[in-house]
């Protein structure tokens, strides 16, 4: 490269002590950290049990920092592969999967793993495909949209809002939409003898949940393959067989399909040997240092988060944060079981659905006569919504590092971008609810804990992403023609 100016070096300069006060961005970044630290101290001074919520906040900030540092976005992983032939992010994602699987195995051996397997069924691949289609148009996955919001990108904020409200609406929709539920789901849901106030036979999502999903089974490889003992089950069953080997297989496929040709040409290798290919795979892994580092750190953080929440649950003798909130006198917004959404690990979409539902509830819409909010997740005030604070933490963490690297910039969406954000976000919300999670909850957190449903979600997300790239190319052709761009 003939003339690289300051851009290339900013990443390295951003956090050095000598440059701390050299630009306003660092001061703003420092202000964010100080405000969150002060808020944490005030919360702990009020009641030490807020530590449970603060774990979500600070791990959220950690996720945000590394997501922005590595430009870590699973939409990019799928889209860039199909659209521009770049496997960079897909490789980073697989590195994160490998690392998280190992840290999750350690946490499992320690006995504080908070993961619950997802039921396996057709809904996962269908939901994944809808999610994948939507995320190509929004330009970011669920976690990617949060970190890009932290960069000042208001189109990404629109995506987050669209995911929030669309989910809240989908899970409470009734009327004509009830016709989407087959009679067998209605009958099966009715047989579950749920409390009357949940009106389980009304609303397509309740019938889908109780009449279909609850009848399915899922599990972790450690149990399914009959591993005896925590160590072999966690490390061989879940991590090695469930995450590491599949990740390495996908990585080799990515090398062969998207990287090998360019690598061999660059190094003028006409007759490659096995060693050349091994070096080529290593070159692919290290091609984007920041993405690889982010993948490593996110994997370690995600395991640490699971351990910290699990240890606190054990310490306080609770199964769910809702119990703690009830003990602290915060009963508004809890489900009828006194629970709230509290996955105990990295998750994105459900807490966003709670934000939308909370606002709709305040506007007078009935939001709790359903399983999703009424029985399971509740709709707590966003101020005491622990996973919600994790999402806010991601935005703040990303803002901290973006400000520090001089990459923060308020960016208003134009009409095209805003339309894609709202429609794509609504599709992501629908896909996430059908698949029972997003690229984090339904993929990243599952495959790393030996739950193969995550790979099924990835297959669906990739298929949806591939189709969306085709559709996006048609859109670009049409726009170029209508704008007289001779591209």
């Amino acid at each position: 490269m003939a003339n690289e100016t300051k851009t290339a070096d900013l990443a390295g300069q951003g956090l050095s002590i000598s440059n701390l006060f050299s630009h306003k961005g660092n001061l703003y970044a420092l202000a964010i950290v100080i405000i969150v630290a002060m808020g944490s101290i005030i919360a702990l001074a009020q009641d030490i049990r807020w530590i449970y919520l603060l774990v979500y906040v600070w791990f959220g900030i950690g996720y945000g920092i590394f997501l922005q540092y590595g430009r870590f976005c699973m939409a990019s992983a799928v889209r860039d592969l199909f659209a521009v032939g770049v496997p960079r992010m897909a490789v980073g994602m697989l590195i994160a999967v490998i690392l998280f699987s190992l840290t999750a195995a350690i946490v499992k051996v320690l006995g504080v793993n908070t993961f619950h397997p997802h039921p396996m069924g057709w809904h996962i691949i269908i939901g994944g495909a809808i999610f994948g289609f939507g995320m190509v148009f929004t330009g970011g996955c669920a976690s990617g949209s949060l970190y890009k919001t932290g960069e000042g990108n208001l189109a990404s904020l629109l995506v987050v809002l669209s995911i929030s409200f669309s989910q809240a609406i989908y899970v409470t929709m009734g009327g004509w939409f009830d016709k989407l539920a087959p009679a067998s789901w209605t009958a099966s849901a009715a047989a579950k003898n749920m409390p009357e106030e949940l009106t389980v036979t009304q609303g397509w999502f309740d019938q889908f949940t109780a009449g279909y999903v609850w009848d399915l089974r899922g599990g972790q490889l450690s149990q399914q393959l009959g591993f005896e003992g925590d160590i072999s089950g966690a490390f061989i069953g879940n991590a090695l067989l469930g995450a590491i080997i599949p990740s390495l297989v996908v990585m080799i496929y990515l090398y062969l399909s998207a990287y090998r040709k360019g690598y061999l040409r660059r190094y003028k290798i006409n007759v490659p040997r096995l060693g050349d290919h091994v070096r080529g795979i290593w070159s692919m892994i290290t091609a984007s240092r920041n993405t690889a580092i982010a993948g490593l750190c996110l994997g370690v953080l995600a395991g640490g988060h699971m351990w910290a929440t699990g240890a606190l649950r054990e310490h306080y003798g609770i199964f769910n944060f809702g119990e703690m909130l009830a003990n602290m006198g915060h009963t508004a917004g809890l489900s009828i079981q006194d629970t709230v959404f509290d996955p105990g690990y990295w998750y994105i979409t459900t807490q966003e659905a709670q934000w939308g539902a909370w606002l709709l509830d305040k506007a007078g819409v009935q939001m709790t006569d359903n399983l999703f909010f009424g029985l399971e997740n509740g709709i707590p005030n966003p101020l005491i919504n622990a996973p919600g604070w994790m999402s806010i933490g991601i935005i703040l963490g990303a803002a901290v590092i973006a400000l520090s690297r001089r990459e923060f910039k308020w960016k208003m969406p134009n009409l095209e971008t805003a339309t894609f954000a709202i429609i794509g976000g609504a599709l992501m919300g629908l896909g996430a609810r059908i698949a029972m999670g997003c690229n984090i909850g339904a993929f990243f957190a599952t495959v790393t804990n030996g739950d193969l449903s995550g790979w099924v979600f990835l297959a669906g997300m990739a298929a949806g992403g591939w189709l969306a790239v085709k559709a996006f190319n048609w859109w670009i052709e049409w726009r170029a023609a209508s704008d007289d761009l001779e591209i």
Partner: protein
């Protein structure tokens, strides 16, 4: 705010995707690079940082040379020569 693509002179083109977020910048760049001839130079302007990572990897993979990378107040201006 629309995408701008112009031929400045023989072998010298500009593409401006300022204001657009993923995936617009990288997909327009891919499309334009496909149109250029060997040795042609594209001046690309964009302000979506994450697109830069993808465009850099794309150039690396296709053998296109990034001649300059400039940044000013969050706006990136890169000059790329097609292989």
């Amino acid at each position: 705010m629309a995408v701008k693509f112009e031929k400045i002179s023989d072998g010298d083109y500009v593409l401006d995707v300022t204001g657009y977020v993923c995936p617009h910048p990288q997909m327009y760049t891919k499309k334009v690079m496909g149109k250029l001839g060997s040795g042609d130079v594209l001046t690309l302007t964009f302000d979506n940082p994450s697109s830069g990572e993808s465009i850099m990897a794309m150039c690396d993979s296709e053998g296109n040379e990034i001649l300059d990378r400039n940044e000013d107040s969050g706006v990136f201006r890169w000059r790329i020569r097609k292989a």
